[in-house]
Amino acid sequence: MITVVQPGLYTTVQDRGRFGFYGVGFPPSGSMDQYSSAVANILVGNNPDAAVLETTFLGPTLEFEQDANVALTGASVDITLDGISIPLWTSVSVKKGQVLAFGGAIAGVRNYLAITGGINVKPMMGSRSTYVASHLGGYEGRVLKPGDRLEILQDSEPKEVRVGCEIPEDLRVTPRAHQEIRIVSGLCHYLLDPQSQELLISKPFTISTEANRTGYRLKGDQLSFVERRQPFGAGSDPSNVVNLGYPVGSLQAPSGLELICLMRDAVTGGGYATLATVISVDLDILSQMKFPETVSFESVSLETALQLRSERAQRLRNIAELVNSIA
């Protein structure tokens, strides 16, 4: 058991995600930065489906009631064990009675804490991920509170990982204040006028203070839509279309005023034109960004997006091999 002394700002249990229910309105949820989350699990010998804690800006203070190996990845942050700093991207041994405490994130937004065996909450619809909007999954369907007690799964058989095993610098996440974010064209991209199509991939956009697991609002130049008679069933604004499904990573621009990028707790459908979709590997990067950092969008093909996704999977396999080889 692990007792939550202080919960931090917005700490949830997440795994890879809840798949297969998008069509009935359930987004996948799961770790926002899938790469960092997966690396944390590898570092403690967990299988890739194990549940971790995801923090936001300020993580929790946790008291361990049992020995455990842990690993922390993601944002740059000071984390202490009984007051002594511990390294990120490294497997660390925690003894019964020790207190793990997060400072505020220095760069980036989210940290992932993996614990050998994984966090044991009841799987809901095949996943332990928390979807706060529907009070589903995770720890009672909500963010952690003081006094919560997290159980560690004991029946799984984690691989042995040597304590002190460290991920090389070039395989860690490096948060930056400006990032190139790659997009593929959206179903309704043609509704943007040509100047706005160009603007979307040439001008920077700033992450606003309204950015959470559901969506990120980004501010930039006004986008305009081609003039047309709104079809039957669509709203009256030029950014409206007849309701359609929204992919995770979908970019919309209500009235052209600002962009909304849907994240892993996405709204699954609605009536705004889907202009483009942030590719899955770059959702990891966007998840570590915050106000007033900026992005530039770069348009890539679907083939490139899929190639980059399989490269990420290969990178994770390489990390798993590396970690296992020094066990």
Binding site: L9, T56, F57, L58, G104, A105, T209, E210, K290, P292
Partner: protein, 83 residues
């Protein structure tokens, strides 16, 4: 003899000095505050979070306006500390 220190934003968001628009500021200029006193609210991810003072002393100035968007680590207030 006094020195001044800054209270820094713990996370990005919208800075508010009042708990609601009609009420008095949580702390006034010149007010004595202790470590842990709530000096402001920051709205982040559609939630309001209290900003607690990390410093004991007298409020010298607020570095941001009520309702401003603030970046993480940005100075929010200057506090005069007694040496």
């Amino acid at each position: 003899m006094s020195d001044s220190q800054e209270i820094l934003a713990p996370f990005p968001g919208i800075f508010y000095r009042r708990t609601d628009p009609g009420s008095d500021p949580l702390v006034e200029l010149g007010q004595e505050i202790a470590v842990g006193d709530v000096i402001a609210l920051v709205e982040v991810m559609k939630m309001f979070h209290e900003v607690q003072s990390t410093i004991a002393g007298t409020v010298l100035e607020f570095c941001v306006e009520d309702g401003d968007a603030i970046a993480m680590g940005q100075a929010l207030a200057k506090i005069a500390t007694k040496l």
